[in-house]
Symmetry: C2
Subunit: 355 residues, 2 copies
DNA sequence: CTGAAAGCGCTAACAT
DNA sequence: ATGTTAGCGCTTTCAG
């Protein structure tokens, strides 16, 4: 069917023969070693092209005693994944990591991070036994007790994504969620809202920063928020559902807008609002956070802030590769990215009449 | 900090020494070769335990000239992923594949499947150069033109998930979506609905089977469906939005229920309904398909059918591993799984008054 | 049933 | 700047 003449095995030897040089020279070219004559390099490159040579991963790792493998620690709070929450986050993490891995010749490996001490030992073992080069550890796996410290002590390279405490990691990537949350809150205030509640939260960076941004904006605007308008009970759908039910129990004293710790929480708040007979956005404005797929598909579509998960993970992998290959492309050890606001239909001024 | 005495390198040699046997014997035990004396095997196993030995992946692949790597072809219709649709599906695919890979000592590798001829060559190359053992190809990557045929011709092992044509694959896993869709439709009929439309669809197994199941149930019940109540325009949110807008344009002639080709489509139909001033489920019942996270978070939560993506992928990997290791655990080459119905709040009898 | 030798394809050290 | 010599840790022959 396909008239391609591709011999079964093109090893480094064939390339060397074709180019009329030693195997070692080809190896040098493959690894971008500096001390190779310009024309030799080009000749080799030509042969590589001509033969369609691709180095064998396993042979490289074995010989070099280093694994060109990046481990992505899957934040495996089993309960979360059982309910399919977090699946989208996970995919975004992976796609971001994958693109850089492919482009740099690394393999991406998924590793489960349980909430136990075993995790740290497992991860350390894999690096010590040279199966893995280093790890990307995304929140909430960053909060597995003692994990970051153990890895640091064992000198295992890793980059943390949105850790609660950046001082626990030499390399990290985080987003300016505080600022985005403030901006979102300010947007509500600009629309005329004064009675604004905050739903969800928790002891991860996302929870802390998003709530912090809300508090800051409200304080700056001189607006008071009663204590019971904070629920601080997680980042998932159910968190929003329960927060909403509490918030809307007394219809006279209810808020006219709710800032949510995540899009999932916002979905829960909206569901609760419906149950309590409130119309969204006419009776209640809602903003989320994450710019998840859900935020587009909900009705009304959510005004939210975009958490650039893919870009963040890509950065993290670049940091790791830079650490693993001192001779390669450098990358800043830490980076803070911005979250853009995404305006949609879940916000209107208070007291707007239905269209 | 951690007082663990774990020498840096535990190779097969150390194990052999510890057990007082030859390296070869340890290798035999690791690979479950039959011709090893019972007590020898146990002694070796004990040493493996004692030393915490773990074979080096790269060395095994190199020596055995076979890659213990399963490639998961990411259905990369770029447009889909750009909009984050399909992310959840992707994660489910991965988690299912990952668990089996880990348990069988394989590495899971993500491979991008573009809608081009290049894909097939790429995939074949990776297997021929022994970087990958075989592939799991989930829909819609199964429909990349010529892909399955090319792989078959090149004798590359693969298992297809929900291919449109099973005869294109020696190994496949699919779900009985036709039956589930019929059951969902019948459920609507049982509730008293007669004017039922079908939204979404398309030239993939999911689209064809789900619409087929709907048609069958309607025909069996003797219910007519006007041609314009089929949209056949995809499986995403926008498909539902546009289908809904068409369906609800004329309020007198509109359906009282809509069977959707996917949960995403259902979300679009619901959004359209809201825009057209219809209340869901009071004025319109809706059912989805997939049991995605979205289906729980929407209001009203969707009645839908569960597509067991994780189980399906796990099966596919088992099929592949069985093909790759004739001596290992056998697995049926094909399997058809069922989709359970999930009853939630998006269905009520027609003409129900709001509570 | 068990073992000894010979690589798998590549790269680190050392030459040159 | 290039080549030579040894392996990396494991498995495949092929002998006992």
């Amino acid at each position: 069917m396909t008239p391609r003449t591709k011999p079964e095995k093109i090893t480094i030897r064939e390339v060397a023969a074709h180019a009329g040089v030693a195997v070692m020279t080809v190896s040098r070219v493959m690894r971008n070693e500096p001390h190779v004559a310009q024309d030799t390099r080009e000749a080799v490159l030509k042969s590589i092209q001509a033969l369609g040579y691709r180095p064998l991963h396993s042979a490289r790792s074995l010989a070099a005693s280093v694994a060109r493998v990046i481990g992505l620690v899957v934040p495996h709070k089993t309960t979360d994944f059982a309910s399919k929450a977090g699946y989208e986050y996970l995919s975004a993490l992976q796609m971001g990591a994958l693109s850089v891995c492919l482009e740099r010749g690394y393999t991406l490996m998924m590793v489960k991070g349980h909430q136990t001490e075993t995790t740290a030992e497992e991860l350390i073992d894999l690096v010590k036994s040279r199966q893995v080069g280093g790890y990307v550890i995304p929140a909430p796996a960053t909060e597995i007790v003692g994990l970051l410290d153990a890895l640091t002590a064992a000198e295992v390279p890793f980059s943390a994504i949105s850790p609660l405490r950046m001082d626990k990691a030499q390399r990290w990537v985080a987003a300016n969620e505080h600022a985005a949350s403030s901006a979102l809150t300010q947007h509500l205030i600009d629309q005329g809202h004064q009675r604004i509640a905050f739903a969800g939260g928790g002891a991860v960076r996302a929870g802390v920063e998003r709530q912090g941004g809300f508090r800051a904006a409200m304080a700056t605007a001189g607006l008071k928020v009663p204590a019971r308008w904070y629920s601080d009970n997680g980042l998932v759908f159910e968190s929003g559902l329960s927060a909403g039910n509490t918030l809307f129990a007394d219809r006279r004293q209810r808020p006219t807008a709710v800032v949510c710790a995540s899009d999932d929480v916002a979905a829960g708040v909206i569901a609760a609002a419906h149950c309590c007979g409130l119309r969204v956005p006419v009776d209640l404005s809602v903003v989320g956070f994450d710019n998840s797929g859900l935020s587009r598909k909900l009705w009304p579509a959510l005004t939210t802030a975009n958490l650039p998960v893919e870009e963040m993970t890509a950065m993290a992998v670049k940091q790791l590769v830079a650490a693993l290959e001192p001779a390669g492309q450098p990358a800043p050890a830490t980076s803070l990215v911005d979250c853009d606001l995404v305006m949609r239909q879940s916000v209107v001024p208070p007291g707007t009449s239905p269209s």
